[in-house]
């Protein structure tokens, strides 16, 4: 009995494996002939954590990418091309991200990849995708070194991968903008600096620190916290004695919310400022004393952009999950690939070129459109040229935009 079931299992597995291998080699022919002749199917890969504690962000991203693909198909944005999304879950783990990259590469229909959420995952995907000439657009990776290399702090900028683009602004821009806002607009001269030691948080804090001291501000103390902690009373008690007028926190809202609340409870009645990782609607919900806290985020406030309005209405009509912080950026990232396909097709007499991956990649530098987060195009490093930044403040338990500026990095 046991032998027989083992046999059946083996057979099923072998058949499955064979089918999969077969698929890889003849997908292209099959799709172009089966789809009624006049439509070519083009797949856009998508990678983000769809399970685990970052899944709220990842699912918001997936929905937004899907919405972009649906919209392109409905509006027939690229004549003769039907777009399809292939979403994969990376569980926020670099190793899984690397495997997913291989899956995208081996699927010949995939001409571009959206994602991932985490910079660490991106690092394991960039190289294989680059070797396969597969365009990657991340809506969420903010680590400056991903595009400009480790030498960017010393001004030695070098493009890392020809295939890597992003619609997210770098930590560098965001930290600088925050420092300038705090020093010049909010007239705060003494800041206590805290970060969560992750790539994102530490990057933000470092960039903030440089600019703030350059401007003449004083960092009265620094500390690092564990992003899994929820008790920051000891740190808060320490901040109180330093005479800081504000705290800048490099990190995300789950730890920022209790940190801010405990800071104020400890008697230091000063605002906490952070980056886009803090600008979540969850922040004021988890923080009873959020009033007056500040955050920066990329792009103009969505209410001020007509293109964003349409996206928000469509999104809320189609999905029940919140779009979270990166919804708009993901829509724009997906749309950037769709635009690149459009350029590649129009340059090839209305047909998808045979070397579609190379052509789409070559078209990325020509992409320029008005997206959800503002005008979308990419510079020589693959970074977004959209440096529109907005500072927000909590008013009546809601983020309210205070100040927008097209920020020029220093």
């Amino acid at each position: 009995m046991r032998n027989r079931s083992a046999l059946i299992l083996t057979t099923v597995l072998t058949t499955g494996a064979l089918t999969l291998t077969a698929c890889g080699s003849r997908d292209k022919d099959k799709d172009s002939s089966d789809n009624g002749g006049d439509k070519t199917t083009v797949t856009i890969g998508f990678d983000a954590p769809l399970t685990g504690d970052l899944s709220a962000l990842g699912i918001g991203m997936r929905n937004s990418a899907e919405l972009a693909v649906k919209t392109a198909n409905k509006e027939n944005t690229v004549d003769g091309v039907e777009f399809k999304l292939q979403p994969l879950d990376d569980q926020a783990q670099p190793s899984v991200g690397g495997t997913n990259a291989q899956k995208f590469i081996s699927n010949k229909d995939v001409i571009g990849v959206i994602g991932p959420l985490n910079s660490s995952v991106s690092q394991s995907m960039q190289k294989p995708l680059n070797d396969a000439d597969l365009t990657q657009v991340s809506p969420a990776n903010t680590g400056t070194e991903l595009t400009q290399g480790d030498g960017w702090k010393k001004g030695d900028r070098k493009r890392q991968f020809e295939t890597f683009f992003r619609t997210a602004t770098t930590d560098q821009v965001q930290g600088q903008f925050a420092a300038q806002y705090l020093f010049q607009k909010a007239k705060i001269k003494k800041v206590y600096l805290i970060d969560d030691q992750k790539t994102y948080g530490a990057g933000l804090a470092a960039s903030f620190k440089d600019t703030f001291t350059d401007l003449g501000g004083k960092i009265v103390g620094t500390d690092h916290v564990n992003p899994e902690d929820r008790d920051f009373k000891s740190v808060a008690s320490k901040v109180k004695g330093t005479g800081a007028q504000a705290v800048y926190y490099g990190g995300e809202y789950p730890a920022a919310a209790p940190l801010s609340q405990q800071l104020k409870e400890s008697g230091a009645d000063i605002p906490l400022m952070g980056g886009d990782g803090m600008k979540s609607e969850e922040f004021p919900k988890l923080n009873k004393k959020a009033e007056g806290d500040l955050a920066t985020s990329v792009g103009k406030p969505v209410e001020e952009l007509p293109s964003a309005k349409k996206f928000i209405t469509e999104y809320n009509k189609n999905y029940k999950e919140n779009m979270e912080a990166y919804g708009g950026g993901t829509y724009d990232a997906t749309w950037a690939i769709i635009e690149a396909v459009k350029i590649a097709v129009s340059e090839n007499d209305g047909k998808l070129p045979d070397d579609a991956r190379e052509k789409v990649l070559a078209s990325m530098s020509k992409v320029k459109f008005d997206g959800v987060t503002g005008s979308v195009s990419f510079d020589e490093y693959g970074d977004t040229t959209n440096t529109m930044m907005t500072a927000y403040e909590i008013k009546n338990n809601k983020w309210e935009s205070k100040f927008s500026e097209a920020y020029k990095p220093r």
Binding site: E228, V235, S237, G267
Partner: protein, 309 residues
């Protein structure tokens, strides 16, 4: 301004929380020599149980009157999960090699986390927990939040009740007997299965009370909160001498105060500027643990309950 009283108060409150959770580790270990690594998750489900009760209550219900109900809700959930774990995961493995229940405990812990993540409404991110409003109370140079009085009161009350229970009641003495020698205890007519269930249940109930304290203290509960708190509480139990209920509470408080002082002052020690602050507090807590274990391998108070020759 002198922040020492404040840091001591911070540490004491945190320590009370660790101590309450540590009771669960220590009692179960004292009686069946099992490190129940799923205990952190039992603490976590207690927090969600209490939150559920609060959400059921009508709007405008005062938090003070809600707290007893929330404690009861938390205890019911924690005890149910804790005893079910004992019955269905650990009891079948009694007599199996030590590693088997240990791995089971780790598996159970992941299972419980994922179950809450999956099925509790909106638990994929941290959920807001009700908190007392109002200004902190100023005592002995420290500002104490109103919600923290819960832990300050609950921890000693629970300890008194537990001490009475273990020393004065029949089941409590049965518990001591089982801890000393389960086989002989059985021969003397003690229902050891029941005693073991009781140990799990008491540990779970204390964890639930700690979870209410955690919620009031931090204003949120999340499906991941059990991991780090469980680890710290386990450390506290070992620090105080695993198997000893008083040791668990003492270990918790020592650990909490050590963490607060490390955060507040380590950077001021000459030559230690690099090693201070919030990120290093866990390192110092564990350094303390190693130090205690080197000097006193049985922990601060030794193994009194599980005193076996």
């Amino acid at each position: 301004m002198n922040e020492l009283p404040q840091q001591l108060a911070n540490g004491l409150i945190l320590g009370a929380m660790y101590g309450l959770i540590a009771i669960g580790y220590t009692m179960v270990y004292g009686i069946v020599q099992l490190i129940n690594f799923a205990h952190g998750e039992i603490f976590m489900v207690g927090g969600f149980g209490a939150l559920t009760v609060f959400l059921w209550l009508p709007d405008g219900f005062s938090l003070l009157t809600a707290i007893p109900l929330m404690i009861i809700g938390g205890i019911i959930v924690s005890v149910a999960v804790g005893t079910a774990a004992e019955r269905f995961a650990y009891r079948p493995l009694r007599g199996a090699p030590r590693l088997a229940p240990l791995i089971t405990a780790i598996g159970l812990s992941i299972l419980l986390q994922q179950a809450v993540w999956k099925w509790y409404p909106e638990a994929k991110k941290d959920r807001t927990f009700p908190q007392f409003s109002g200004d902190p109370v100023h005592i002995f140079g420290a500002d104490i939040q109103r919600g923290d009085f819960f832990l300050i009161l609950a921890a000693p009350l629970c300890m008194l009740a537990l001490a009475y229970y273990v020393n004065k009641t029949r089941t409590g003495r049965g518990m001591q007997a089982t801890a000393q020698d389960p086989d002989t205890a059985k021969l003397m007519g003690i229902n050891t299965d029941r005693i073991i269930v009781m140990a799990f249940a008491i540990g779970a109930a204390f964890a639930a009370i700690a979870a209410v304290g955690y919620g009031l203290h931090n204003g949120q509960v999340g499906f991941k909160m059990g991991f780090i708190m469980g680890l710290k509480a386990f450390t506290a139990a070992v620090l105080g001498g695993i198997g000893n209920i008083y040791g668990a509470m003492l270990g918790g408080i020592v650990l909490g105060v050590a963490e607060a002082l490390a955060t507040g002052y380590m950077a001021d020690v000459p030559g230690m500027e690099q090693f201070g602050g919030g990120a290093w507090k866990d390192v110092w807590a564990f350094a303390l643990l190693i130090l205690v274990l080197l000097l006193r391998p049985q922990g601060l108070l030794g193994e009194r309950v599980a005193d076996r020759a």
